[in-house]
């Protein structure tokens, strides 16, 4: 094994001369190329940060490491198997990261489309958000006082409906009485989450993915589902505990416990209404 890491003069010098040659041809275009690629990496990292995709990336990194190590240590059987895995990696990556790729493309598309929307539409959008936030906060406040369990998912850029395994379509305006009615214990739609999409109640009884994090040991399925959906999307989820009536918010893989109704309202305005203004100006 003493041949390992003993760099061959011929190979090294040819690679070194290639690198020197590349540097000698460095232009401003190459600098732009590097910066743009760095931005692509940064956006990709931001999309997968803290999500389940992050652990998949780690798995891929381990596979690549095994591929290189099997080559270095001349483990032919292992190397041939991992060669096949790495070579078919592009297709596998598209399949595995389909939700993340979709989210990234939606972000790019949304960014370019928002720029051409009219001022009237912007003002209408902000007004809609304010009404929606007030209705949600009032309903959450009442359900908190009555100890009615609730799980409300407010969709943002990531489209969620297609990724739920089970749901009942509603497509209604956001109304505090309707929200409260849907979460009444005896209601056939009270199990699962309520999905609010584009300022409307899109669906009820949505089955969400549960988080695998251990930090929510004492909390029930609602909290685990809320954190689970925050790991696969940029949605904001509100949870009302059936036992204590306490309100919690999940967003971007994090959970905030014991939120007051004023804090909830401020939070939603910060994340939804102000983001809407920021996006559209």
């Amino acid at each position: 094994m003493n041949f390992i890491l003993s760099i061959d003069g011929g190979v090294f010098s040819s690679v070194w001369s290639s690198i020197i040659n590349t540097f000698s041809r460095f232009e401003i275009r190459d600098a732009i190329d590097i910066v743009l690629l760095a931005l692509v990496f940064f956006v990709a990292f931001s999309v997968i940060k803290g999500k389940k995709a992050g652990t998949i990336i780690l798995g891929i990194a381990i596979c690549v490491a095994i591929y290189f190590l099997s080559f270095i240590f001349e483990l032919r059987a292992l190397h041939s198997v991992f060669s096949v895995i790495i070579e078919s990696g592009a297709i596998v990556l598209v399949v595995i990261f389909q939700p993340e790729i979709r989210e990234a493309l939606e972000k790019i598309g949304k960014g370019s489309l928002d720029g051409i929307k009219g001022i009237g539409e912007r003002e209408k959008g902000i007004s809609n958000y304010a009404t929606m936030i007030d209705s949600i906060c009032y309903a959450v406040h009442m359900m908190s006082l009555e100890n009615t369990g609730a799980l409300i998912v407010i969709e943002r850029n990531t489209k969620l409906l297609g990724s739920f395994t089970d749901y009942i379509l509603i497509d209604s305006l956001v109304n505090e009485k309707l929200i409260r009615n849907l979460f009444v214990n005896k209601s056939p739609l009270h199990d699962g989450a309520l999905l609010i999409s584009e300022g409307r109640i899109a669906a009820a009884k949505c089955i969400l993915p549960l988080t695998e994090k251990k930090e929510l040991g004492d909390y029930g399925t609602r909290h685990k589902a809320a954190l689970g959906v925050s790991e696969v999307s940029d949605a904001i989820t509100i949870v009302v505990s059936e036992e204590t009536g306490k309100i919690a918010i999940t967003y971007d893989c994090e959970i905030i416990h014991d939120v007051t109704i004023e804090q909830l309202k401020t939070y939603l305005y910060e994340k939804l209404a102000k983001q809407e203004v920021k996006d559209k100006t």
Binding site: I4, D8, V11, V15, I19, I34, L37, F42, F68, F71
Partner: protein
Amino acid sequence: MNKKFLGIKLSVYLTLFVCLVASFLVWLVAGANIDVDTIGNLLTGYTK
């Protein structure tokens, strides 16, 4: 709050720096036409 804010900013700058280094390495490897076999050969000292 300020510490948290500074932490967030630092992590963003650090991530950007790492992305910049990674993209520079990709540019270098692509520009010098270095493939996986060449990297392997460099590590093992193997020549055909």
